[in-house]
Symmetry: C2
Subunit: 302 residues, 2 copies
């Protein structure tokens, strides 16, 4: 795949402990970069940036490689892989962070391989905004830069986050974080305020309700696919972002029409993520299944 339509993805790589209604799961391979890379790899070549400890299963990296994800930019180091410990409510509608162990991410300063720097598309997955800026500064001339973030950075790293916002084309964020970042509750007003901070394109994730796109041409909406079986929402937002940017890279366009198209792929791929624990379902999903799910999402609102 040419570098022009490749996506470089940075974010956490994790071994999560999940307390789900279906049971407790230890050392589940996860992290924003993992989910986003898997999702993006359904559409284009992916260069993944991150760091793992000695406890991370090499087989998982090999699996990513087989799916077209370049993991040469994933630093293998001594120490322990990043871990998120989370507990979900019985209905999966809310979750609680029990523990976050930065481990090898505490001192991670990525150095991007040359092919990574030449990619046309960049997804700055949810991670410390300074790390996002660091990765962005190493890119040669990306055509399209998208970023995700979370409430923690909005709370404690506003200045660093502001620097990221000023430098990106597209922010992908959930609705509560959008409201928090803007300081107003009304979604349209919040979108205007945040777009004034930098990103021309704002995509607001609304979980089981779908996603909204705000750009110069107005507002677009895509519903989420109502699932019959929901197992684990972990990584759904990262999968959404990965599929969205992967699809834009595949089209090598990011105009309003392309964004609407990619929004549909984002919700379709995210819905598969929720159907399995960790990356289980995302790793097995085929492009044909994605196309069928997308058709079902589109039929919902046709």
């Amino acid at each position: 795949m040419s570098d022009a339509s490749a996506v470089t993805v940075v974010g956490s790589v994790a071994l999560d402990d999940l307390q789900l209604p279906s049971g407790d799961f230890q050392d589940v391979v996860g992290g924003a970069a993992t989910f986003a890379s898997l999702a993006a790899s359904l559409f284009t070549a992916v260069r993944m940036v991150g760091v793992v400890g000695a406890d991370f299963p090499e087989a998982s990296l090999s699996d990513l490689e087989r799916r077209g994800v370049d993991t040469s930019g994933v630093e293998r180091t001594k120490g322990t892989t990043f871990k998120w410990v989370g507990k979900y409510a019985a209905n999966l509608a809310s979750r609680e962070t029990l523990d976050t162990q930065l481990n090898v991410f505490a001192d991670f300063r990525p150095t991007l391989p040359k092919t990574y720097r030449e990619a046309g598309y960049l997804l700055l997955g949810n991670i410390h905004p300074s790390l996002q800026s660091d990765v962005l500064s190493q890119m040669q001339k990306p055509k399209f830069v998208a970023a995700d973030t979370m409430n923690l950075w909005i709370d404690i790293e506003r200045a660093a986050l502001g620097k990221v916002l000023a430098a990106i084309d597209c922010l992908i964020i959930n609705d509560e974080e959008l409201r928090q970042l803007a300081g107003v509750h009304n979604i349209r007003q919040a979108a205007k305020i945040v777009r004034d901070l930098g990103p021309r394109i704002l995509i607001c994730k609304r979980g089981e309700y779908g996603a909204l796109l705000f750009d110069d041409l107005g507002i677009a909406f895509v519903p989420a696919y109502p699932l019959e079986t929901e197992l684990d929402p972990t990584g759904a937002g990262d999968s959404f972002a990965g599929a969205l940017v992967g699809r834009l890279a595949q089209l090598d366009r990011f105009d309003h029409t392309a964004l609407r198209d990619a929004l549909g792929y984002g919700t379709a791929v995210a819905s598969f993520c929720v159907e399995g624990v960790g990356t289980d379902r995302l790793r097995s999903v085929t492009p044909t299944e994605v196309a069928e799910r997308l058709a079902a999402v589109r039929a919902l609102a046709s």
Copy 2:
């Protein structure tokens, strides 16, 4: 308008006290029947059933009459009109019931005028399920019967509500109430359980997120219009239901295509309701404005 495409609407008629972020408002004309009738009157002839006390402004009933709402089935009685006292959070996202005064509704037993009984469409607005059954039993042969309900009746009047569910074509309910009624959180599973209780058609209102339709042909979705100015969500759900049934009556069809069409009108009209306090905006909205808003709703997901 012929009786075949007229809608009979029953529900509360109220003088509400509203504590809104924009200020406190006393004796605001409201109630499920009022909002639903106003909304339905944008599409077809409406026969409104309810009861008001001596304190209810006759001008409000005259206003309804001017909009094509027959209020001869609204009983004028001594005593005090039904009152709901509600307090909204600063962001309008949640509300608290401070007081509910049944007043003249406590002993209300409606007797439907002949023209009411001959209407082809019936909307049983949110009110005690026994009253809903009573009204339904007086109808001659309605082609299509829809009902709304609320958490209170699900809690304390499950048997009476069950009787209503068994007798209607369409239940219109919000997502939390749907989950409560079904006893499961997953929306698709909940929809299946509730449809097995009677209504072939289930419409799940999701507030600012839109609405889902479940019927024999599957699932459809319509987004809510993201408003820039939100003043008062009171009655938005009733306006949605009124517009939906009014539009079906106007089409005189209730197949899947007609339901999808009506779903769009429901969200369009409900969005106007939120733009004013009480019925303020709903009373002034024109069919042209509704058509424009509907086009905007449809463009969101096109």
